[in-house]
Every structure is written in structure tokens, then in C-alpha cells.
């Protein structure tokens, strides 16, 4: 009996460590169905993807107040929302950073930043940092394009091919992806990468 108990405990421990180690780099892949979330917006109202009745999909951007790469992309994110909200693909921005690790990424600072930059889209706070790990976001900015009908991830990655210098952009990945979805075509590049700031959580 005791032996069985020991074996059982060992099995549980090993499964726990296994699932822990494999989960560190996990998250949604292209083609995965995502779970809806409910997060607080800078207007203090809760926002879920299911609230957007007319949307065909979403441009979900993990971003924050402090990362220079995020800041360098704020104008480009505004442009995306201006161009695609009317076509059914609104931008939904989410701040994944823990204010305990980065005080300037607090909910109050998000409101300030959003009004300074005149964000036209929801800017949600991932309170408790529970949503970004489901996506597997690792950095800011980090974009996920999702189709509303299937709730499947269509694209993961960068906004364009020159995050540090907007004047040198020659390929607009997110625009190309949304254009393809709107036209009913296959997305050419479903995964891209860019440099970004690691997401910060207090340990």
C-alpha cells in the first residue's frame, strides 16, 4: 500500500514538472482556437471579444507604456485600427506587464498613455497576467490576428519588417494578413518575428 502511494506521488510530481516545463514555451499556435477573455479597458468597462457583434476578426496587440519598441509602434497601431476597424478587424490592445515589476505600466499610466497618443481602440489591462500566457506572448509588441467566426488564430508576429525605423518598412505583415482574410485568400506569411521587450512579471 505504502509503495503504491509513493509511486502515485512520484507520478503526480513528474507529471506536474513535465507539464510545467512544457508549458513555459506554449501558447496558441496559428490554427488554434482561442478562449475569449474579459479584461478591464481604460474606460473602466470590461471588454470581451464576444462584445464585438459586427467584427469579422481582431488584431490583438500585446503592448505596453514603457517598451521603446511598443512606443515606436504606437502610431502604426493607431493606423491599423483606423484602417481596419471599419472593415471588421478592430485593434484590441492588451498590456501584459505586471505593474509590480514595471510601475509605469500600471492601469492609471495606461489611461494617461492612451489619451496622450489618442488611442482609438480598447487598451486592456491583463490583471493578474493570466491572458498573455494563454496566447504564449513573450514580448511587446506581439500581434495575434484572430477570425471571429472560428475564433482561430490566423497570424502571429510583427506589425511589419522594420520595427526600429518606420521609414524603412518594405513589408507590412499585419496589413497583408488582414487584407488576405478580407479577400478570402490564404495568408502568405502566417508567422513573423521582431525584436521586442520581454514581458515583465514580478517574481
Amino acid at each position: 500500500m505504502k509503495k503504491i502511494k509513493i509511486i502515485l506521488v512520484m507520478a503526480i510530481v513528474s507529471i506536474a514538472t513535465l507539464s510545467f516545463t512544457t508549458s513555459t514555451k506554449k501558447g496558441y499556435k496559428v490554427g488554434d482556437k482561442i478562449e475569449d477573455f474579459s479584461l478591464k479597458n481604460i474606460d473602466d468597462k470590461m471588454v470581451s471579444l464576444s462584445d464585438f457583434n459586427d467584427a469579422k476578426g481582431f488584431i490583438i496587440v500585446f503592448t505596453c507604456n514603457t517598451c521603446p519598441y511598443s512606443v515606436a509602434n504606437e502610431d502604426r497601431i493607431n493606423v491599423l485600427d483606423a484602417k481596419y476597424k471599419a472593415q471588421g478587424f478592430p485593434v484590441i490592445a492588451i498590456n501584459p506587464n505586471d505593474p509590480a515589476a514595471v510601475p509605469e505600466d500600471s492601469f492609471g499610466d495606461m489611461k494617461v498613455r492612451a489619451s496622450e497618443k489618442e488611442f482609438t481602440f480598447p487598451y486592456l489591462f491583463d490583471d493578474g497576467q493570466k491572458v498573455y500566457p494563454k496566447f504564449g506572448a513573450t514580448k511587446t509588441p506581439h500581434v495575434y490576428i484572430v477570425s471571429k467566426k472560428t475564433m482561430e488564430v490566423e497570424y502571429i508576429g510583427a506589425i511589419d519588417n522594420s520595427s526600429r525605423n518606420p521609414d524603412k518598412v518594405t513589408e507590412k505583415y499585419v496589413e497583408n494578413a488582414v487584407d488576405a482574410l478580407l479577400a478570402g485568400n490564404k495568408i502568405e506569411k502566417t508567422e513573423t518575428r521582431a525584436i521586442g521587450c520581454s514581458i515583465k512579471v514580478a517574481r
Binding site: A72, T138, K139, G157, A158, R164, R193, S198, K200
Partner: protein
Amino acid sequence: MLKKVFFIFLLVAIFSTCKKEVIKESKKEILTGSFTEITSVKTVNYNQLKPLLEKKDDKTYIINFWATWCAPCVKELPYFERITKEYADKNVEVLLVSLDFPKQVDKKLIPFINKRKLKSEVIYFNDINEDVWIKDIEESWSGAIPATIIYNKSKRKFYEQSFDYQTLENELKTFLKPFKS
């Protein structure tokens, strides 16, 4: 035509001897602890950076991708500096690859290097098409910094994480062991 070739050859020869002297000089500085202020920093594109990430000599290289605006990067810089000093005569070289913004090289990066008196070699890496070079540098790299590569001709490891000194030194030691004995 022949003249031209000869001229190019001469230029290359001059450059390569200059380079050697610079390296010797910086090594002396590492050991003596002196620091000469810099006014410029070497800028590379990916084609120029790539050979530095796959040298096949007897040294072990630590390549750290960082930026002055990246808090966790700045926090771990002293550990890389300590490696540069403590392993200067142990065939270990640290290369700090800055991913600062082009507009901030003169305003931020160069003053930062001077203020911190960085001994490790710093180069400024500027290239668009991150999607291409991030994957090429390391298939598993999401693009977040800090990120570090430790490699020599027989072993290579990539770390998308922050280091404390002990972890960094322990990792480095796993690269040095086979050469000890």
C-alpha cells in the same frame, strides 16, 4: 586591372593589421583596467554580424543582444563585464550586440558605453527584416531581449532569458570543461 587588385590587397592588409592592434590594445585595457572614451561604435548589418556568431577558432564566445533602454539587459551587463575581466586570459570573448534605435546611437548608446566604461566589445546592429535574421540566428528566438548565445566550435546554446552572475558563469563553464584537463 592588376594594379587595382594589388591596391585592394594592400588595403585589406593594412586594415587587418590595424584590427589586430586594436584587439591587442583592448586586451591590454581589460587587464590593466584603463578605459579610453569612444566617439563612435562599429555598426554592422546582418551579413557582417553573422560571421561573428559562428567563428570556428579555439575561443568560446558569449554574444549578448541588448539595448540601453532594456532594463533587464542593463541589469545583467555587469555580469558580462565581469566575465570579460575574469576570463580575459581564458580564451573567452564577450560581444555585446546593441539593438538600440538608430536615432539613439549618438545620444544614448555611446554616452552609455563611456559612462559605464564598458570593457567588452560593443557593436551596433542595424538591419531591417528582423523576421529573417531572428530566425536565422536562432530558430527558437521569439525576438525578446535580453537574449544570449554562448558558443565555441564544438558547442552552442541559446538563452532567451536574463542571467545572474552565477548562472552565467556556470553555463560558461560547461563550454570550457572539455578544453581544461
